[in-house]
Amino acid sequence: MPSPRSEFFAGARAELPLLLGVVPFGLIYGALAVQLGVPATITQAMSAVIFAGSAQFIAAPLIVASTPALVLVLTVFVVNLRHMLYSASVAPYLEKLSPLWKVALAYLLTDEAYAVAIAHFYKPGEACAKKQRHWFLLGAGVTLWSFWQVSTAIGIFIGARVPPEWSLDFALPLTFIAIVVPMLKNRAYVIAAIVAAIGGVVAFGLPYKLGYIVASGFGIAVGFVLTDSVSHEIRDQQTRLEKQ
């Protein structure tokens, strides 16, 4: 049975490839926000309090422009709407935890921590191994959190020094590919992924990153309908076999 410690470090290790993309992103965020005129303390506090990359990027210029608080909060709400899907998706795996654990893991539930944790949760395992798996999400989340804070701080004080031609940010989509492809167990999942991917491109122009949620919704709906038709086919075949 894995110990909490080994699960924690397995989660931290799983997060490492994503850091290749996240650290440059944090550097750019820190450097850009102070260039825009956001005070250094506010720039850093946003990384600690909001802890959501794309929402912070969008919020920074709005803060400088003295946008009304309500508009800003609503914008962040819409940009982060996909996190609600993550919350629903991991909820069954965290149901037995104490409220404190739930609060901590919810706070750490970013795109990157979710991606590695859900891949881990989906792996078949013995019941006893599953008891410790929340430590995996904690390890992934704490690792990402620490690197996000440090890269923001370096971005604020030194600026973004990673040469853009290295394209290190490409490590992020590559890691998501590595996580998604093994999850494509049957036709329904493959088509759901393709629909969501194309939808993401088509709906990219929607404001406030709404394209993500619209495209994901389409992908989920198509996958759902397809599994439904697949299970109907199986049921029809069974009834036919029973009749013979």
């Binding site: 490839p17 909060v73 996909r82 979710y114 394209s167 490409f170 969501a196």
Partner: protein, 109 residues
Amino acid sequence: MNATLNVWLTLFACGIVTFLLRFSFIAAHGRVTMPRWFTRALTFVPVAVLSAITLPEILMQNDAVNFALLNPKLIAGSVAVVVAWRTKNVWATIATGMAALWTIQYLLK
């Protein structure tokens, strides 16, 4: 109201909203029973959301679709899909994907 205080309060409000979105279903689970169709639809969430994030990152350049077949990221991303499918290994996928991207960028220079 003091402008700095206002910014801080707004910042915390944004943090609370983000947290509540992430906490919503984790908190509700167990108290509210989720309908069967809902839990079944949830199995598509990781595949759908991560795909919806990934393809635009590969195809979009300065807010426009880069349809060129020689788009280095598209080729490198396709290589990564094949490697991910054959190896199921994250590091192998990233290593070949980055190597493919750098090679293509070098050749196209």
